[in-house]
């Protein structure tokens, strides 16, 4: 198992290096500069600023410098936000995203997985149709519709929850619900599919013939295998949910990472884009590694190798 983890870890590092190089050169070749604005700058002033951030050097040299800096843990300054470093920006917004993300994921799992199991067990009854149609609607209904809708109903009409902001526990409810419901829908459908596949297996028919009670069949024999599709999705879902949903953060004014992804790209804030890309890629690599380990643990047909 250690060998398996070690191998995957090395693979992950290679993937990260590849992603970093690719992003760096893509960003470098994108038109537009972090310093351009509607108001023209004196060329002399622009030259000074470019020299400060190293933009006067050739791309190859800039790449090597940036790799060197990252190995020392320095992701550089933000080219747009005066006297802030990329590390500071991430350190400030990551905990927010982590909090919102983990609560949303909890919501998604607690709603989605039971709903999926129930739907599979009570196939083709209203216990299947209602949650599954809701889930389908949940997947189709984008967060930018769901968010304002929840804000309208619970924030303005019933006025029980704050409409936006991030100042205390009650502010987490609506964004977490918006994000959570969306992922819950996915989990519900994946779990239902996985469970149905298991319930149709030959060994289940044998078990039923032998008179094993239905709850034992579901809990003991099918659940482990039935959850595999959902667990496979857990990795990317967790990374995606933590790195923040730009839409949800914007609607509810949540100071998380998602806003920085978009601001970084729009401002052509190269260092920020690179720092966030490294963070996001590492998260995905890490999550996939954990999912791989979990999958082998759950699926007896797989082995660590």
């Amino acid at each position: 198992m250690l060998k398996f983890i070690g191998k995957r870890f090395l693979q992950g590092i290679l993937v990260l290096i590849g992603i970093y190089a690719l992003t760096f050169f893509l960003v470098a070749s994108t038109p537009g500069s972090p310093f351009s604005s509607e108001r023209a700058m004196q060329p002399e002033i622009l030259a000074q600023i470019e020299a400060f951030y190293g933009y006067d050097k050739p791309v190859g040299e800039r790449f090597l410098t940036s790799v060197g800096n990252i190995l020392h843990g320095d992701f550089g300054p933000s080219a747009v936000y005066a006297n802030r470093t990329v590390t500071e920006i991430i350190a400030e917004s990551f905990p927010v995203s982590l909090k919102l993300g983990s609560i949303s994921l909890l919501v998604a799992l607690l709603l989605g997985i039971p709903a999926g199991i129930l739907a599979a067990v009570k196939k083709n009854t209203w216990l299947d149709y209602v949650p599954m149609s809701t889930a389908m609607a949940g997947i189709c209904l984008p967060t930018f519709v769901m968010g304002p809708l929840l804000a309208l109903v619970f924030g303005l009409i019933f006025a029980v929850l704050p409409v936006a902001g991030w100042f205390g526990p009650e502010f987490v409810v609506l964004p977490a619900a918006t994000l959570g419901l969306y992922y819950a829908a996915y989990f519900a459908r994946l779990t239902r599919g996985g469970m149905l596949e298991m319930l149709n297996q030959d060994f289940v028919r044998t078990a039923r013939a032998k008179g094993v009670p239905e709850h034992m069949i579901v809990w003991k024999h099918c659940l482990k295998g039935g959850l595999i599709p959902a667990i496979t999705f857990l990795g990317p879902a967790l990374a995606g949910i933590i790195s923040g949903s730009f839409v949800v953060e914007t609607i509810f004014q949540v100071p998380g990472l998602g806003q920085w992804f978009v601001k970084g790209a729009l401002n052509r804030d190269d260092f920020l884009i690179l720092g966030l890309t490294v963070l996001f890629a590492s998260l995905i690599v890490l999550m996939n590694l954990l999912v791989d380990i979990a999958q082998v643990a759950l699926n007896p047909r797989l082995k660590y190798d």
Partner: protein
Amino acid sequence: MRLKISYRRKMQMKLVRHAVLIMLLGLGLASCGSREPATDIAAREGILLWGNGTEPKGLDPHLVTGVPENHIISSIIEGLIAYHPDNDMIPAPGMAERWEHDPAFTVWTFHLRDAKWTNGDPVLASDFVYSWQRALTPELGNQYAEIFYIMKGAEAFNKVETKDFRTVGVKALDSKTLQVTLNGPAPYFPNMLKHYSWFPVNPRAVEAYGSIGDRQNSWSKLENFVGNGPFKLKKWATNQEIEVVRNPTYWDAKTVKLNGIRFFPIENAGTEEVMFRGGRLHLTNTVLNEKVPIFKKKMPDQMMIEPYLGNYYYKINTERKPFDDPRVRKALTLAIDRQLLVDKVTKGGQLPATGFVPAGVPGYPPSDRAAFHPDEARKLLAEAGYPNGKGFPKTEILVNTLETHRQIAEALQAMWKKNLNIHIGIYNQEWKVYLDNMKGGNYDMARAGWIGDYVDPSSFLNIMTTGNGNNDTNWGDPRYDALIDDAQRAPDEKTRFAMLREAEQIMMDAMPIIPIYFYTRVYLKDPRLKGWHPKLLDNHPVKYLYFDGQRVTAPKTAGSAPKPVSTASATAPAQ
């Protein structure tokens, strides 16, 4: 069959029962949740909740250029001259108690009052010398350094032609007297000084965290910040809020009525609107265009529409065919029904732009050259060789990606089709790509906007001189350049305005730009907020603001500012 129906019935009943249960639950939640809006609590406590657009790029007055930054910086730092509460043309005393000038309006002397920085230092004339030297230090890369070029020797120092700051026209005659020498007469100089580029920074604070030319100097971070304004920085939570509280050591603290301001960086106009209606904001940054008519009808006392010193216009690349012919440019301008456009498309009370300098500058009414004359437009187009639009080459309008820009472009496209029978295409580009192409002259016609830095025609006309970095049209006229230059040395205000008017008419005859409308500021405001007046530059000095029914309180000590979600404490702080 019968069995099936009865089963469905049962299910329906069950569903109805569930629905009723959920509704009851909702009502229960609603009844227990009727709490006092945050805006009510804050108004009583004298705390302004302000939707401020976006996260500031920084709070260092020499490193930022934006409007949200201006709102915050102007509340925590004060320059020599301050904003007047309701008149754009009157310079109000700030750090300078009084000032005088020589008869030529070229040498200005400012007498500083006894004022303190928040770290206890006195504000000295030498602080201004240091600050302006910093603003002009080439390595710092101050994007607004150009505004200082009015000062003698400033341009040469900023462009590294000399390293000796003593060649620049600013001197501390003694600890409280500052003397400024300009390139030429500038009666409007005090009004220019209101701009935050001219604000002082505390030299000791700056030097403690880096050198004078260090862009990454951290003096302006929350924990290091030193200011001298009516408020001081208390909290800075990125993408969340910036809070300032009353500064007890401010020289005019008795005038300051608010106890604090909380600036919220809300970029999404929809979110902002919901927060305003949900009782979380007293002021919004903007209002969605399509909502303006509804709010105007439903909440007229909260919907604010005020003139703003800005021009929305199209730049024309005068080197490209067919726009190299002034008659074509003129035809396009005269074929636009601007009144129809502002009434039906922009809807925010904008004024049709008939010239380049917007309406509102006292003594300088807008030019009338860009009016709606479709017949003359057709005639000009025919003269240029395109009778009834025949043979007009394929051209396109470049706009940056935003729905409103496209709507306006489509309206103009339709007007040109109808009035001139020519088809002009539209394409949009992402902001930074659009900037690259516009600045590089890679366009036929491009959407643009310009907001004045100070209330004076020169703030607009200066950018259209030959080769100016903001001109971008490849147009230039030596007569225009000479007039703009000579106006800086005009003997009096009347002559200066006449010269600027002549210059503007030269440009309007050549029409390298198509003026479209003069901007308005459109936002929502809590009617209880007083001391807030319409301002052409949207500068509302915060020290005069207060709330109707605000409890009279002594200056609050740090840490006691109320949170909007907690129930307000009823105890007034002791004196």
